[in-house]
């Protein structure tokens, strides 16, 4: 059984869903508490996040810095737009590689699913080209990885 789904929607969206055994309040907290974020939002094996700034209030900043410990690293900056504890977060983010990528607006919902949580993360990119570039380089960035179901094509 796979708990994760990733698919494209329209020309500019990428939608990720994932179920968790924990209730929405806990999953929400794990997305907004820097000490918790540093434990899981790491991408490929071997990478760490030495800097994690996450001021979970509307209009406040996000800054994540990753390193592989061998001289390679990159960072992400963003701002919170809306927070509704413990059900919904809207923020914008951009990767710095080192040039900033176009803004990705992300709406993350945490819905009660039995005793657990259904998380739905909906990313909105400025245009189809930006989404294509994000998908093509997702592995390197480790985070914004996505999956397109080539339904009926194979």
């Amino acid at each position: 059984m796979s708990k994760l789904t990733l698919k494209t929607e329209g020309n500019t969206h990428v939608v990720v869903t994932r179920r968790f055994a924990a209730p929405p309040a806990a999953v929400y907290r794990a997305h907004t508490d820097p000490k918790l974020i540093q434990k899981w939002l790491l991408g490929p094996e071997g990478w760490t996040m030495p800097v994690c700034i996450n001021d979970a209030r509307s209009g406040r900043k996000i800054r994540y810095e990753w390193t592989n410990g061998k001289g390679r690293g990159f960072h992400l900056t963003g701002e919170y737009l809306e927070l509704e504890p413990y059900s919904r977060i809207v923020h914008v983010e951009r990767m710095h590689l080192p040039d900033p990528t176009p803004e990705n607006q992300v709406e993350t919902r945490f819905d009660t699913d039995g005793t657990g949580t259904l998380m739905t993360m909906r990313m909105t990119l400025p245009d189809a080209q930006t989404r294509a570039a994000m998908l093509a380089t997702g592995m390197e960035r480790g985070m914004e990885a996505s999956y397109v179901r080539l339904e009926g094509m194979i």
Binding site: F20, A22, W40, A136
Partner: protein
């Protein structure tokens, strides 16, 4: 380069709904430009332009059959892209597997009515 998968161009190629529809049609079997143009109500030059993008991306191949140039899916390109996407998915799943562990280790603020530890 035809026949070689270029991820950037492949994902760009897939960003267009007409090109996705062409791939879906070709998944059912090869087709000529004329056959492809018909259901899409597009001119043959317009379809040819879309096919060129798909060929450059390594997702579509052509063969020579007399005066015809039927197009088909480039299986290797599609498979390579699928493999790539599976890797991306795995990398993302790794984050969430770690999150499962973090959540399991978190103290629950309070036990709700009817819940068992």
């Amino acid at each position: 380069m035809s026949g070689t998968l270029n991820l950037d161009t492949a994902f760009s190629a897939l960003a267009d709904p007409t090109r996705r529809a062409i791939l879906t049609r070709l998944a059912k079997g090869e087709a000529t430009v004329m056959e492809l143009a018909k259901p899409f109500e597009m001119t043959q030059p317009a379809i040819s332009q879309h096919l060129k993008v798909l060929e450059d991306a390594g997702l579509v191949a052509r063969r020579v059959d007399g005066t015809k140039r039927p197009r088909r899916l480039a299986k290797a390109g599609i498979a390579a892209m699928d493999q790539w996407l599976a890797m991306l998915r795995k990398a993302l799943e790794k984050n969430y597997d770690r999150l499962d562990e973090v959540l399991a280790g978190m103290e629950q603020p309070k036990i709700k009515r009817g819940e068992k530890r």
